[in-house]
Amino acid sequence: MRNIIDVTNESIGRATDLRYGPDGLNIIVATNRRSSIAAAEDVAAAYGSGTAMPLAGVPIAVKDNIATLDMPTTCASRILAGYTSPYEATAITRLRSSGAVIVAKTNMDEFAMGSSTESSAYGPTRNPIDPERAPGGSSGGSAAAVAAGIVNIALGSETGGSVRQPAAFCGVVGVKPTYGRVSRFGLVAFGSSLDQIGVCARSVREAELATYVMSGLDPLDATSADVTVPPLPDMTGSARLESLKGLTVGIPTEYFPDSLEPDVRAKCDAAIDKMRELGASIVNVSLPHTALAIPVYYIIAPAEASSNLARFDGVRFGPRAASAADLRTMYDATRSKGFGAEVQRRILIGTYVLSHGYYDAYYRKAQAVRELISRDFTNVFGSGVDILFTPTTPTPAFKLGAVTDPYEMYMSDIFTVTANLAGIPAISLPIGRVRGLPVGGQLLAKHFDEPRMFRAAEALEAALGEGAHQ
């Protein structure tokens, strides 16, 4: 095994490389060489004295909305400029005690609101595959950090596809665990009933390892689940080409609309063929309420966000607008300057749908429809289907600045928001390229069925081999 300090140093070297900074791909927003090296030394000492550490010396980059000590946590927002958390997220604590070394914070859409990383106060991240294109979002920095080879594993967060969509755009693996699998303590809340910390990684097995290390009941998060953490994967050897005999893979027709780009469909069909060749039985299924997912999501997520973002008021932390005449003016000025356009738009939508007289028509109705979307999955998984396969996104990465209509931007999450609404686990993995741009295939499983999801994903990854990136 290579020296842990050297590995950390090399990773920090890449993270601080000008090519990935603000004048380059703008992937990394913060590093702290001294604390990262100190952490690596601690790991090296513990590892040397025989402590079992599944992630010993593995450099990890972290999305800027997950609380870390020693590096700022700003959610790529002016309203948290210069803010460093005095405590660390449970997920980070668990990674650290498994030997991981945090080397950088990554760029993101402001407060994770966006699908292109263009709403960041630090400016957009560029896609390492094609710098003219968006890396997706909101965890664009984390997906790009893995795609650019800065780290093999990066943490993202999901509310409606914010790990899977950028993973698909950047040609890496992206995982959203079951809601409750990974503690949200320390993840700056956007839509609390939808949020989960997720993982971008070079391979399915690395994503699986990092996911499980972070998993398990956390007494600091009342929504974390008391479910046994599956055994960690064996990290020796290359991806396992396991048989999928006995596995029933459902293909939901709603995720393959006529409007789907033919090249994307072709890559999906090829992936489905691979799974069939591995012994899986393929069945067509229907999730009839899929079309309602985007409208429902854009009521529930902004509603929760409007409340979650109330704490950014200039009173206790972050910049405060100077010389305001009174309290109200201070709030108005601080929040108007501190939040970008997309965040303000969602706060306004959320405030509206929760307002007296509108709550029943919007929020309550949306919750009822969310239940229907959830039930679609329960029904399909109850009918003998083990795994669902879909494209992760309707198109490959779009060009930076190309999508200006917010609604059009929201539609890029159309295949991913359902898993967040239903709370089920999902993974996106590269299944090939179209015009040189990565295409992601998505596997969805029932609640806490990550082991089966990862097994199927790894088998598909192995079967596709180099084809996943061609």
Binding site: S85, F185, T223, S307, L309, R311, Y331, L354, Y359
Partner: protein, 482 residues
């Protein structure tokens, strides 16, 4: 000011916030203690730092359920926390975690007792829900600045909302005093208005007698004692009646009680009419309470004042006024019961607990649990009075010494040599000495002038330094009078 109550009826509903006496806060492990330096009892959760999440304190749930049972509520098997959204600097998250359309408990009843009134007044209580307290804004500490202390932010509260069932300020006062008493018995809160662990918002309206429809209500805030609640209600009722009398409409608004002026004034418009945008708190799962859990709390609930009153009445045969006094406070009641049990005479025990003990507690600002004379020790003193071993005057002296020394009654009485003398031969000797010293008076007494008995008894008492049993002296003297 005329008496409007002949023409108009006062209608009152009360919202009471009660701070639960948990060790830690409602949603984090910070201490819920008062009096620490500002912002010491805080953490990422109660500071509302980015990424922090609430976790419900099980002890707060137990206390809230105990309060609900004590007030006759039905505890809901499922209740839901909700966010009440508003901006204020001492509200760190920008929302208060509360309960909204699915509260912890519903349909309670309180039997308000007006002292001296034989009947109790049943008042319906709509709901009891759990919520967290906000912090404190300090406006007078730094010039032109507001300081914020978040020690109190996240401390668990229950809010108890009554129906508009009260018809007078006195009845509202009785409701509050009874509520406080029950919560003290249930041991869920310090229920001190002065310290802010019990806070009252009063909704009041006026209508003509016989009118079935409720009038427009106002909400009276900033009241910090039960008597101030009564005075503020009367003042607001009078104001409304005067307006109605002039044909004016009552505005639904918040009124602020000014204790120094004894009047109410309208709150600034900013202090009212929020759209709180309530929605279910996504960070906390619904609170599910099993029937066994509720039953277990019910089985451990201490005896409540009404029940204790009935028991004391039948067991000790004391008067209504004595019952009022000894059951007002649960610890006093326990103390009284200890004295009455050990001594046997409830009325005698009540007289001393209400008299000497209450005066001593008051004088030294001591709480009964810290009082140096334990109930069995007081019973021993009362036994000595009953058995003629101590005069009432001597008993008071002994009581005073017991308080300061912690010694028992027989020891103190012996040390002070105040034990009453009932021995006939000793009394007879003192009588003979008095006869010798007062030949004139004793001669007339012996000749039948009975009114001189008092003079002679007094002389014997003086000679005995107060130790002679006056009843016995009286009886012994009787045989000398022809």
């Amino acid at each position: 000011m005329s008496d409007w109550s002949k023409k108009y009826e006062m209608v009152v509903g009360l919202e009471v916030h009660v701070q639960l006496k948990t060790r830690s806060k409602a949603f984090c492990s910070c201490s819920a203690d008062f009096g620490a330096p500002p912002n010491v009892n805080t953490c990422p959760v109660c500071l509302g730092l980015p990424g922090a999440l609430p976790v419900l304190n099980a002890e707060a749930v137990r206390l809230a359920v105990r309060a609900a049972i004590a007030l006759g509520f039905t505890v809901n098997p499922k209740s839901v926390f909700a966010r009440k959204n508003y901006f204020y600097p001492d509200l760190p998250k920008g929302y208060q975690i509360s309960q909204y359309d699915q509260p912890l408990a519903v349909n309670g009843t309180l039997h308000a007792r007006i002292p001296g009134d034989a009947d109790t007044h049943p008042i319906a209580i709509t709901r009891l829900h759990m919520e967290e307290d906000a912090g404190k804004s300090v406006h007078d500490r730094y010039p032109h600045m507001t300081a914020i202390d978040l020690n109190r932010a996240g401390v668990p509260l229950i809010e108890i909302v009554s129906e508009p069932d009260m018809r007078s300020a006195a009845e509202a006062g009785a409701y509050l005093r009874t509520l406080k008493q029950i919560l003290e018995y249930a041991d869920v809160s310090d229920v001190s208005m002065e310290e802010g662990s019990l806070r009252v918002d009063a909704n009041v309206s006026a209508r003509l007698h016989g009118e079935p429809k409720l009038g427009t209500k106002t909400e009276v805030k900033n009241v910090n004692s039960f008597s101030a609640v009564e005075r503020s209600l009367q003042s607001e009722f009078d104001r409304q009646c005067e307006m109605l009398e002039r044909g004016q409409h009552i505005l639904q608004q918040t009124m602020i009680w000014d204790a120094s002026k004894g009047t109410v004034r309208p709150a600034r418009s900013k202090e009212e009419s929020h759209d709180y945008r309530y929605f279910p708190e996504p960070d906390l799962p619904p609170l599910l309470l099993a029937t066994e859990f509720v039953k277990k709390i019910e089985s451990t609930l201490a005896e409540l004042p009404q029940k204790m009153r009935e028991r004391f009445s039948s067991e000790f045969g004391i008067t209504d006024a004595e019952l009022d006094a000894v059951t007002a406070d649960p610890r006093i009641a326990t103390y009284f019961e200890g004295v009455a049990r050990a001594h046997g005479d409830g009325a005698h025990a009540a007289k001393w607990v209400m008299g000497e003990v209450a005066a001593a507690l008051n004088e030294s600002a001591t709480k009964i649990q810290d009082f140096p004379i334990r109930s069995t020790q007081l019973a021993e003193l009362l036994d000595m009075i009953r058995d003629g071993k101590l005069s009432h005057t001597a008993a008071k002296t002994v009581f005073g010494t017991m308080r300061t020394t912690g010694k028992t009654a027989p020891v103190v009485a012996a040390e002070l040599s105040v034990t009453q003398v009932g021995d006939d031969s000793q009394l007879e000797q003192w009588i003979q000495e008095v006869f010798a010293e007062l030949p004139e008076e004793s001669g007339r007494f012996r000749a039948g002038e009975k009114k001189l008995t008092g003079v002679l008894v007094g002389a014997v008492m003086k000679k005995s330094k107060g130790r002679a049993d006056p009843k016995k002296v009286n009886a012994l003297l009787g045989k000398y009078s022809s």
